[in-house]
């Protein structure tokens, strides 16, 4: 029977596979880059949470685990120091972007009071991967054209895509030492 640690290995390795695909993309497909980044952070976070002892069913069910990992980092200076090595503050810089990607996952968050239910998402909320209906106009919108973070990723004057990819690479590289 597979252990949570076995699952943690699976999530980590699949997250690294997603990251490898991301390396071959560019900003000409920004919504796909955003989707892959969300997938990378979700899987790296699931692996970490399992190593830290979170129950497997809860980790498997949720697509909103990256925010829990963020909370772990925020409350653990030793982990933060190990993550940032000599430079520091890299996590603090990209934290809002990781949370923005997570919030755009198409599945609404699990209700923390009743984990078998999901919280309602306001109509017209932009999401990764699928079209949505604009709550005011009724127009159909889709991530490649309308998702705010994807639009910013496509802008060569912006720096968010390069910084997030760099951070994902760093988290993948240090994962085993941060979460043995």
């Amino acid at each position: 029977m597979a252990t949570p640690r076995d699952w943690a290995t699976g999530y980590l390795e699949q997250g690294r596979e997603d990251l490898a695909a991301l390396r071959r993309l560019d900003a000409s497909t920004p919504s796909t880059a955003a989707m892959l980044l969300q997938m990378v952070f979700e899987k790296l976070a699931k692996s970490a949470m399992l190593k830290l002892g979170s129950p497997l069913p809860a980790v498997q069910r949720s697509h909103h685990v990256a925010s829990r990992l963020v909370a772990v980092f925020a409350s653990n200076p030793i982990l933060l120091e190990a993550l940032d090595e000599e430079d520091g503050e890299s996590w603090a810089e990209v934290l809002p972007l990781v949370l923005e990607l997570e919030a755009a996952h198409p599945a609404p968050p699990v209700d923390p009071v009743n984990p078998k239910k999901r919280l309602p998402r306001p109509a017209g909320t932009p999401v990764l991967e699928y079209p949505w209906e604009d709550a005011k106009t009724g127009d159909i919108r889709w991530p490649a054209r309308d998702l705010p973070i994807a639009q910013r990723f496509a802008d060569p004057a912006g720096v968010e895509l390069a910084r997030l990819v760099k951070f994902a690479m760093s988290l993948s590289r240090k994962h085993a030492s941060l979460f043995p």
Partner: protein
């Protein structure tokens, strides 16, 4: 041809200014020359970029006033030192550090 190269560098300076403004922890931006003069190749070093031991080019198609394709390589200081020491390879076809121009 000369006019084209000048335009590329002007656009590169605009991008460098935007990136510095977006990331105040940027400590250096260089233009790595493209021998064909077709794309902007920026090497940027940030105090807060994490170490990855890799050089990953992030590519952008032209958009708006940025009329050239752009490639950005984000490094931290340790990685730049490794590039200088020849320990970390640049993307294929990229000119060596000696020919970079600070922006």
């Amino acid at each position: 041809m000369t006019e084209n190269r000048k335009s590329l560098e002007e656009v590169a300076r605009l991008l460098a200014d935007s990136h510095r403004k977006a990331n105040p922890n940027t400590v250096g931006v260089w233009l790595a020359p493209d021998s064909d003069g077709r794309e902007i190749r920026l090497v940027e070093v940030s105090q807060t970029a994490p170490y990855t031991g890799e050089v990953l080019p992030v590519r952008f198609p032209p958009k708006g006033d940025i009329v050239f394709p752009t490639v950005v390589v984000l490094l931290n200081r340790r990685e730049l030192a490794e590039v200088d020491a020849g320990e970390l390879p640049l993307p294929d076809g990229w000119a060596p550090r000696e020919s970079w121009r600070a922006l």
